[in-house]
């Protein structure tokens, strides 16, 4: 079936709402507005206002409400409009959702799914262009995933709803429009996927950077460099085994991450590869990240700040000592 990423997410939500009466959606403008990214369009009409709950602009309270409802037997899916607004709910996510199981000695479960749009590239400027996947991937007690394909967007939600711990799903804003022909099916939350095989270098990425990594691999192939492109899919836990196996073959790694370079998830991955694949490396591990600047509004500046296909190609060539 041909569908867009956006449609895939919507279908996943519909399927969940139909399958389990305990599922409800909470978020800003998900009902009457149909969702900022049109993901939830039509759901209010189909499932009604008790289950498709428009919330006031109170991220902390409605994320906390999601936590409480999950504790007390429902299966809420909370939508935080974008990761930019998740900062207002960080206390509830980190100090309640991530910690309640542990602080209660295992008694209290928080089976909550939080969906957030993330990423830059639409000239939305500094406060609306963040990539904070690494902040959440830093916290024990959370599962963090970043579906980068239509199939994963369609299939990860069902699996997330079977988890007994909070799962945060990051949907990159530039992926909502991509299309693909898929067979809708639940997919594993864990495990990285090799999206393109190659033996000369390993490109590791996630989310909205995947299309750019694949485009870079095309360019490199024309210059006889066969890059392997790995989509992390799960950011916490990380599937380091797959990365190590690839680097053992290719001897070089370049990580593409839309977060700022300093303190990035790419840094964590580079450290893990340094620990586990040191002897296989023929070159320093490369990182292609966002420049150390709040995202600018002007298009050419924004493009210069974000990881580009050219930058990925250059990084891979450098790793190949070409």
């Amino acid at each position: 079936m041909k569908m867009s990423y956006r449609d895939a997410v919507r279908e996943g939500l519909r399927e969940a709402l139909i399958a389990d009466p305990g599922v409800l959606l909470i978020g800003i403008d998900i009902g009457k507005y149909g969702g900022t990214y049109a993901v939830t369009r039509g759901l209010l009409d189909e499932f009604g206002p008790e289950r498709i709950r428009d919330a006031p602009l109170s991220e902390s309270a409605f994320v906390g409400a999601g936590i409480g409802a999950a504790i007390n037997g429902l299966r809420p899916i909370v939508e935080i409009m974008t990761v930019n607004f998740s900062l207002l709910a960080l206390d509830q996510i980190v100090n309640s959702a991530a910690t309640l199981r542990h602080m209660s000695g295992g008694q209290i479960e928080v089976p909550l799914v939080i969906r957030m749009a993330t990423g830059a590239g639409r000239q939305l400027a500094a406060q609306h262009s963040h990539s904070f996947e690494n902040w959440f991937a830093h916290v024990p007690g959370l599962r963090v995933v970043a579906p980068a394909t239509v199939a994963d967007a369609r299939g990860m939600l069902a699996t997330a709803l079977r988890e007994r711990d909070p799962v945060i799903i990051f949907e990159h804003v530039q992926l909502y429009g991509i299309e693909d022909d898929i067979e809708p099916a639940p997919v594993a939350l864990d495990g990285a996927a090799i999206r393109r095989a190659g033996n000369d270098a390993t490109i590791i990425t996630y989310g909205g950077s995947l299309p750019r990594a694949l485009a870079a691999a095309d360019t490199l192939a024309a210059e006889n460099i066969a890059a392997e492109v790995i989509d992390l899919r799960s950011l916490r836990p990380l599937d380091v085994d797959t990365l190590v196996a690839s680097v053992t073959r290719t001897h070089r790694a370049v990580i593409v991450d839309e977060g700022w370079r300093t303190g990035s998830l790419a840094g964590e991955i580079a450290a893990q590869l340094g620990e586990r694949a040191f002897w296989e490396l023929d070159a320093p591990i490369g990182r292609v990240c966002t420049a150390e600047v709040p995202i600018p509004y002007a298009k050419h500046l924004e493009l210069a700040a974000l990881p580009s296909v050219e930058a990925i190609v250059a990084a891979v060539k450098e790793a190949c000592h070409a």
């Binding site: 309270a61 936590i67 206390d91 100090n95 295992g106 008694q107």
Partner: protein
Amino acid sequence: MTREQILAMLRSMVRVRRFEERCAEDYVAAKIRGFLHLYIGQEAVAAGVIPALGPADSIVASYREHGHALLRGIPAAAIMAEMYGKASGCSGGRGGSMHLFSREHRFFGGHAIVGGGLPVAIGIALADKLRGTRAVTCVFFGEGAAAEGEFHETLNIASLWRLPVLFVCENNAYAMGTALVRSEAEPAIHKKAAAHRIGSESVDGMDVVAVSEAATQAVERVRETGAPWFLECMTYRFRAHSMFDPELYRDKAEVEAWRAHDPITTFIKRMTVTADELAVIEREAAAEITQACAFADAAPLEPVEDLLRHVRAP
């Protein structure tokens, strides 16, 4: 009120008072570590509210919650073991003084972020509403929480979505060292609830009978109407915010003045509790605490190998 009920109320307050005093002693002897926030002086609030709740109702509390946990039915031994950090504690030794939990008693913590339990409470209530359980969620918090944005967000949603929550604000006039009059333009907290169109009242938190009456009615009202209610209890803590607080922010004279309103001594006087009746209660409380401490002393520590038990591997 029957004599039984009167003595039951007194027993509740005395148990909490003696338990808290023992905690202070054990903390100073380094058997309890971290932060310790004592409820001494505020006993009438928990003793008045919690008996009004049923077993299907839920409680969310703050970090000053030992008394609430005890009166909800969590065994003193389990609470003390938790304080000592033992595996037999009600949170497995993982939480400590500020994070007492018991799923069995529907006691959902134990929250250390001021106001942090409020959003969780409305979520619990939302689930009860949608599942049609007619249960009430009772959330305890201090007046300091009224300064946090979450307080207003929570009241707003509780009112907007008509959630069965009883908000119990224990106004002890100080948020750690910040006096209420210095931090709130409108110090009458219950008026803030009214601003969110939530029914509210203020009671004398040192009078266990007044609290009990107000709470009993409030719980019934919330259960029947499904709408939230806000109960502000004016109370006072006789000890510092925590064990390591030199109390530079308040006068000793003020503390002494409030001691005249000690909920226990005033109740004993008002109800003409006899020395014998009191002696029985004190003896039982002392025995309960001795047993709890013995249990906690003997309880094992969780093996270090189990460190990562409650989280998935990264």
